[in-house]
Symmetry: C2
Subunit: 350 residues, 2 copies
Amino acid sequence: MSSASPSTVSLVTTPTPRPKRATVHDVAVEAGVSRGTVSRYVNGERYVSASAREAIEAAILKVGYVPNTAARNLVMQRSQAVGFIVHEPHSLFVEDPNIGEILLGANTALSEADYQMAVLIVDSERDTERVARYLSGGLVDGVIIVSARAYDPISRVVERLNLPAAYVGHPPGASTASFVTIDNRGSARAITERLAATGRRRIGMIAAALDRDSGADRLAGFTEALGDRFDERLVEPVALYSYSAGRDAMQALLERAPDVDGVFAASDAVAAGAMEALRAAGRRVPDDVGVVGFDDSAWAKRTLPGLSTVRQPAAGLGRQAALLVLGQLRGEAGAQEVQLESEVVWRDSA
Amino acid sequence: MSSASPSTVSLVTTPTPRPKRATVHDVAVEAGVSRGTVSRYVNGERYVSASAREAIEAAILKVGYVPNTAARNLVMQRSQAVGFIVHEPHSLFVEDPNIGEILLGANTALSEADYQMAVLIVDSERDTERVARYLSGGLVDGVIIVSARAYDPISRVVERLNLPAAYVGHPPGASTASFVTIDNRGSARAITERLAATGRRRIGMIAAALDRDSGADRLAGFTEALGDRFDERLVEPVALYSYSAGRDAMQALLERAPDVDGVFAASDAVAAGAMEALRAAGRRVPDDVGVVGFDDSAWAKRTLPGLSTVRQPAAGLGRQAALLVLGQLRGEAGAQEVQLESEVVWRDSA
């Protein structure tokens, strides 16, 4: 993939004359170094000595030079920045430590390649439109998208612009881009089977985010694992991967099915909320009810007892998504799908 | 404040000829609307009917038009974006729900003013240099800075560029910008006095992030509150506001001063870690040791017993910082300092 239609650069005129802008030449004269040295400094290249760097910084301040990156980007058709788009920010930033790990994994890989990561938040309809305009404006060269819903409007914009892109996850309706995934379905099946093997007879699920591939696939894996024993009345769906959603859903499930003796929560935050509701209802974990989660986020190590869960390599997902975008920026092959390993981690909650 | 030296726009030539780029005119003809309507759509203004919007979007797709925001920004000297710089990302994104609230508060205020927020992460020396270049490049019109350390290099860059800026907090060495703060010192004094009033005789503190104003001011307030009873051997300093730092520090404090009967932890995450260490050591909270925190983040409601703490208006801090930057972008008065209210919230941990 490459950027959308290449363009000529047109002469633009300003309505009023402005003072002459300081140039690289002015800085070089003031600093007593060559123009080439100033260019290397401005372009962030190596091989600028500490003394030259100091002289150049002082000269930049004195002559009022602003490196004309915007003009350079216009010619080069690049901003040297990659967007990282986060949907569901409240749930993700406030409730879910995974997003932080994904974000930092992506930042490290982009940083190593000298790309700036710019995190863009989609929190409302207004944000969707504005992010779409931002992406259209050449302010990023590519984009990483996490937690997209099915047929997300941002996905359509990215496709229309033909922007180098990689998703963490694989939302329906975003078919032409690259994806980094884990096997949500297989992992959910594996941990449900493990829970069933502890002798539980009435296993429920708090299913979350069914409009995202991760949520839908985890429910599918749960259903498969139970086979004939699957009882849809034991599935409580919630909108978000959040602690409070898990707590409320567990209360509802206990009222509807007081004999429930096992619960697969669609994330660790959901599981922690469920354990809180079980405690409040006087049910012991794991004695009365076995609980398992998904993520192996910081939540899993803070619950008492420690949470049995599926470990997903959050930083690795972010890093791999960044590498896919960087590959596209170098002109390498188009859409790829990469699946990273996940594993069941068994602790004491079931 | 305004942006740095205004500049003329120079003609730039490209080395090779490129295909002619689709223009607003092409879109207007294809969509059967006026050029003015297309411009309003592209510039994100209101008063574009739903039917015109649909026709324009279809036409943009068909003719391959890319709104030339980069060129427009070059003329207008603006990107319509504001950076949000986060230091200490691991501690903040993974451990501290406050940062998510600050970020979302800022995003909402910027979104209302039709500004795009771009979160920039400083996680290494390399990130510092690259963020500095990004800020120099005209890719943001202003910047919000959270969790800056004293004499932070990014602060120097922002000052040099004369970028509209607001800090959450007030780090030493960043004297000319605007700040949004809470009264860390007064709040720390108030909650320490309240803890002392429960009859505790040997009150310690797990002090964190002493190279930031928040951390240093909380220690100062603690010291003031205890007056003659202050014992520096009961202060355990840690680098970060994190759960694991709190747990390890509480272990160390218990070994050094087994008679400690009250603890002020510099954040709720630190307090939650301290409570875990106390539980592991067989000390009951609040019976044996009273624990208080700072933030009233999601942590405070998840500890058992519920944490007594200082509530800080995290979303409000982000929102106010954004408003200060937006004011500077409109050319309003320069540096301002805004202090928001915080309050002691007393629960059951002390």
